[in-house]
């Protein structure tokens, strides 16, 4: 199914981060020089938010993926400074500010439940499970904004096959790390922690479902779910669980965080669907970060050709 090609140009080759940050520093230096000339500018250059140093490292040898979209990438700055990660605060800017000391090493992911070979994977093991691919996916938040991100990882099914799910495994439950000492803001989030998510087994095994370890040519920044997360591009963003510590194969549909918070607003499936509105707002359109006006939202976030067959015969309004 996957067409493997030799790594060609990836995001990291196009825009080395050193250049990117240099450019910012130059711009900032210009701002400061300008302030020396025009005193009035001092305030505005002081107000420039300092770029957070992201403790990421480069990932190389990335294969391209036929699943990638050719749409324009959202800027790295936007994807790292506009996040929902309630463990680090509910404001979009909070995760970038408050996750910088989050310890992501050592890290391991425990895989358990209805599997023949339950085991723990260390981060090093995960990185070596399969060749890393760059997959440029659309990502649509339930709040009606969207981004295009060059994620890095491999199909979740690669890991799943290693632990050999038994015939009883119908669903997969996922869990984010919850450490209140590192996540003091979590208690104001209004939702229960640890954050949990779930997929039906066939959804989890779909080749689009990505076990993600990086983006933009590098390992994941903390605010984007370091060190390892899921990316399920045809579902609303909150299904793509961050900072994953536990994966459990099971017979029953697992509880999911936002569904538990408000089941009529956030369904278990949460497939992107412009025809099924959130009770409080329409899902027919979205704003791509970087745009002013809205664009139409696509069924299954534009991945209908690949995933629509998973839901044949299902009432997608009832199973929203």
């Amino acid at each position: 199914m996957l067409i493997r090609r030799k790594a060609e140009l990836t995001y990291a080759d196009v825009t080395p981060k050193s250049v990117y940050f240099n450019r910012r520093q130059i711009l900032r230096a210009m701002g400061i020089a300008g302030a020396a000339v025009a005193g009035g500018k001092i305030l505005s250059s002081l107000a420039f938010p300092a770029q957070h140093v992201l403790a990421t490292s480069k990932l190389t040898g990335l294969a391209k993926s036929p699943f990638s979209t050719t749409e324009k990438l959202t800027s790295y700055d936007d994807v790292t400074h506009y996040n929902n990660f309630y463990e680090f605060g509910t404001d979009k800017g909070d995760p970038a500010k408050k996750s910088q000391n989050f310890r992501t090493s050592p890290w391991s992911v425990s895989v358990e439940g209805e599997v023949a070979k339950p085991r723990k994977f260390t981060m090093d093991e995960i990185l070596k499970l399969a060749p890393l691919e760059e997959r440029i996916y659309r990502h649509r938040c339930v709040e009606r904004w969207s981004i295009v991100v060059p994620w890095i990882g491999f199909s979740f099914s690669t890991l799943a096959k290693l632990v050999e799910p038994t015939s009883k495994a119908q669903y997969v439950a996922f869990q984010t790390l919850y450490d209140p000492s590192q996540m003091p803001e979590a208690k104001y989030g209004g939702i229960d922690f640890p954050y949990v998510e779930g997929l039906r087994l066939d959804e989890a095994m779909h080749p689009l479902t990505l076990l993600c370890v990086g983006m933009y040519g590098e390992t994941l920044p903390n605010q984007d779910g370091a060190p390892v997360r899921m990316v399920v591009p045809w579902k609303y963003g909150y299904k793509s669980i961050k900072s994953l510590v536990k994966i459990r194969f099971q017979q029953k549909e697992p509880p999911t965080t936002w569904n538990r918070y408000s089941s009529d607003e956030y369904g278990f499936y949460s497939n992107v669907n412009p025809k099924v509105d959130h009770p409080r707002w329409s899902q027919a359109s979205e704003r791509r970060l970087g745009d002013i006006f809205r664009r139409d939202t696509l069924m299954f976030n534009g991945y209908g050709d690949q995933v629509a067959s998973l839901y044949n015969g299902m009432d997608l309004k009832q199973y929203h």
Partner: protein
């Protein structure tokens, strides 16, 4: 303090202060510092400032009485009009970038989404208040009727808080904060009204005894 409030410069200074949030937004926009989602940034900022100015407006009457500073009345209309100014900006960020200036789409949204309905109601209620905020209109309507009309600001403030509460996903701290302020300010009025009524009630009895 009193002299300061009376001075002719006080009003001009407060006016400029009220414009600062707007100027700050313009400055941010010019320097591209509205974040990853500039439209949302403007919507949230103008919505926040609308609620703040409604709270300022509603604070004037209690503060006049509690601080014995009746002169504060000089600022009430200005605060109210600034609430209207910020809610207009808020409305334009919605009808423009959100609805692409399609009135039909807006009406659908207003009819269907309770959070839009209640926000829209709060906005519409402020329009007649802004229009009749002049001395001429007070005279034309008569003090009593004008005052009754302008009590609509209580409803508008409550609508604004509910609008905010229904917007957020799960962290309701900020909407509850504004809600608490509005409730306190309205409860104070209720208390004030009850005390006044209590004081007035014996009057007819006493009058009857004299006659």
């Amino acid at each position: 303090m009193r002299a300061l409030l009376f001075s002719k410069w006080a009003k001009a200074c407060v006016f400029v202060l009220c414009l600062v949030p707007f100027l700050a937004l313009v400055e941010r926009a010019l320097h591209g510092r509205l974040g990853a989602n500039p439209v949302e940034f403007l919507q949230h900022a103008t919505g926040d400032w609308t609620l703040r100015f409604l709270v300022f407006t509603l604070s004037i009457t209690p503060l006049r009485k509690l601080l014995h500073l009746p002169e504060l009345i000089r600022f009430r209309r200005m605060f109210g009009l600034f609430a209207f100014f910020y809610v207009c900006l808020h409305f334009f960020t919605y009808i423009g970038p959100d609805q692409s200036f399609h009135l039909a789409g807006m009406w659908q949204d207003v009819a269907k989404r309770r959070f839009i309905t209640v926000g829209f109601l709060g906005f519409v209620l402020l329009i007649p208040l802004a229009l009749t905020s002049t001395a001429g209109w007070i005279r034309r309507l008569g003090g009593k009727r004008w005052q009754a009309l302008h009590r609509a600001v209580y409803v508008s403030a409550v609508c604004g808080v509910i609008h905010y509460y229904w917007l957020v996903k799960s962290d309701v701290r900020k909407p509850l904060f504004y809600g608490a302020l509005v409730v306190i300010l309205l409860l104070w009025r209720l208390g004030d009204w009850l005390i006044k009524r209590g004081k007035q009630a014996p009057v007819p009895v006493a009058a009857a005894r004299v006659s």
